[in-house]
Amino acid sequence: MATEAWEDSLSGHLHSKFAQAILKTESFRGQPFAETTPSEFHNVVVFLRDDHAFDYLCDLTALDYPKDEARFELVAILYSFTHNRRVRIKTRFPESFHPQSLSDVYLAANWLEREIFDMFGIHFAGHPNLKRILMPDDWQGFPLRKEVNILDMDQSWVQNNLGIESGQ
């Protein structure tokens, strides 16, 4: 991605406060984002909320890169009413890592983390009620992981249940 460096007072504060834990601060199409180490992710978000008035969690979501060792990417989109600006904080970690839940920082994270667990199978440490939210409770697998192929699912269902080719 053709990113530019994100250099302003806020990115400076992040670098001086967390030093090695901030892996990069970049921007794309004028939208800034920072990548942190997975262990410091929670602290960076708390720092932004408490010291820089990012008091609104717009969204929390994840991405899956199955070919990489650190296959999951967690993205928090924060908004500050005071400064009227958004930043994205990201972190990459392997499947075995359990990131610390943000539900003690923003109440909105409760359902958003349940949705991420439901869709990607990422376990959040310290979440009060981590269970499926959109999929049925007995669902096998995590739909938004890249290895789940909806065309294959459709074809195998049609073949098993109707005994014909699905034509998809």
Binding site: M1, A2, T3, F28, R29, Q31, F33, D55, Y56, L57, C58, D59, T61, L63, V75, I77, F81, N84, R86, R88, Y106, L107, A108, N110, W111, L112, E115, M119, R132, I133, L134, M135, P136, P143, L144, V148, I150, L151
Partner: protein, 370 residues
């Protein structure tokens, strides 16, 4: 002899929905009750989950556009606007001025249609049956304008990435002006019908309070946060599609309860009319489509673009890996996040108040479940 206190109550678990008229679709609530009081509530959702985000990864950018209409199907135009703006942001294209103004008019008409359906159905939940008929009568006029423009009433797919597919139809201006004239008077009638109605006030005042600080922490947006006194509207805070050219106010209230959410939505419809009236005066001539390649292949990158949909902040977070399909297409659904706060607001309320609170959150399950 063992003493038994016969006055002691026991907790009762009541299942409400998913097939219940006042849950506005397939929302299921598990209520823990102490008599008529709610001690705890759990929302069970997902009955309408279609995997919109997964479908997005399997379709091209253009193919996915009609799918967004089926999330918040009450305000399909706003969904489409958000999606088009997000993809345009990713490929670095801006719609021409004419298309932008026309988009604003349709988005505001849709806001009115959405608020009207909300008003009619949530009034019906509280026993005010008359309002529903009036609201649907007015909403019909908006839907007719949509139908005359693009042939569809609900899932309109009115916009295209880069602008509009269709030029405005000949009678568009006359129809919209007539609607605006008529609707101003009708809004006053709603005021007379409900605003000072003692039963209406009794049912809504002080019910479902969520303060501004709580709204921020719960991620609540839209009319709910404005009813808590925070004048935050993305059309003003981070203007898109030319909203900065228009003169309008952000209605706010201080009570943070269901009644104030009702008042905010009524005022928002008045402001929408102001925007529509101004926009009709200055629709520029010119092209309706920007130069967009037939096959969309955005460069690797990511954007988060959000708009002020009738229900709150609707955002699209799109990550492109440079191929024909989005690598990840995340929708930030206002209804889903607003609904989460019900688990806080309903505690301590009466069962009948839960109906009022769900009503004034204004959810649509198509968007909650996606």
């Amino acid at each position: 002899m063992e003493s038994v206190n016969h006055l002691e109550t026991s907790e009762m678990v009541l299942n409400m929905g998913p097939q219940h008229p006042s849950t506005h679709g397939v929302l299921r609530l598990v209520l823990k009750l102490d008599g008529e009081r709610v001690k705890a509530v759990e929302c069970v959702i997902g009955y309408l989950h279609r995997g919109v985000e997964k479908i997005g990864e399997n379709r091209t950018y253009t193919q996915f556009a009609p799918y967004v209409d089926r999330m918040d199907y009450i305000s399909a135009v706003s969904n489409g606007l958000g999606y088009c703006l997000a993809v345009e942001g990713l490929i670095g294209v801006e719609a021409p001025p004419r298309a932008q103004i026309v988009r604003v008019i349709f988005a505001e008409l849709n806001r009115i249609a959405s608020h009207l359906l909300w008003l009619g159905t949530s009034a019906l939940d509280l026993g005010a049956m008359t309002a529903l008929f009036y609201c649907l009568r007015e909403r019909e006029e908006v839907l007719k304008i949509f139908e005359n423009y693009c042939g569809a009433r609900l899932t309109t797919h009115a916009f295209r990435i880069g602008g509009l597919q269709y030029e405005l139809h000949d009678t568009f201006e006359a129809e919209t002006r007539a609607f605006s004239e008529m609707f101003k008077k009708r809004l006053d009638e709603y005021d007379q019908l409900l605003t000072n109605n003692p039963i209406w006030i009794e049912r809504l005042k002080g019910v479902g309070i969520l303060t501004a600080e709580e709204c921020k922490s719960w991620g609540v947006s839209g009319p709910m946060i404005r009813a808590a006194g925070l004048a935050w509207d993305l059309r003003k805070a981070q203007p898109y599609s030319g909203y900065d050219q228009f003169d309008f106010d952000i209605p706010t209230r201080q009570g943070a309860d269901s009644y104030d959410r009702y008042l905010v939505r009524i005022d928002e419809m008045r402001q929408s009319l102001r925007i529509i009236d101004q926009a009709l005066e200055k629709i520029p001539s010119g092209a309706i489509m920007a130069k967009v390649p037939k096959v969309l292949k955005p460069p690797p990158g990511e954007v988060y673009v959000s708009i002020e949909a009738p229900k709150g902040e609707l955002g699209y977070y799109i990550v492109s890996d440079g191929s024909l399909h989005p690598y990840r297409l995340r929708v930030r659904p206002p209804s889903f996040i607003n609904l989460a706060s019900l688990e806080k607001m309903a505690v301590g309320a009466l069962v009948a108040d839960v109906v009022a609170i769900i009503g004034t959150i204004d959810i649509v399950l198509g968007e909650v479940d996606r």
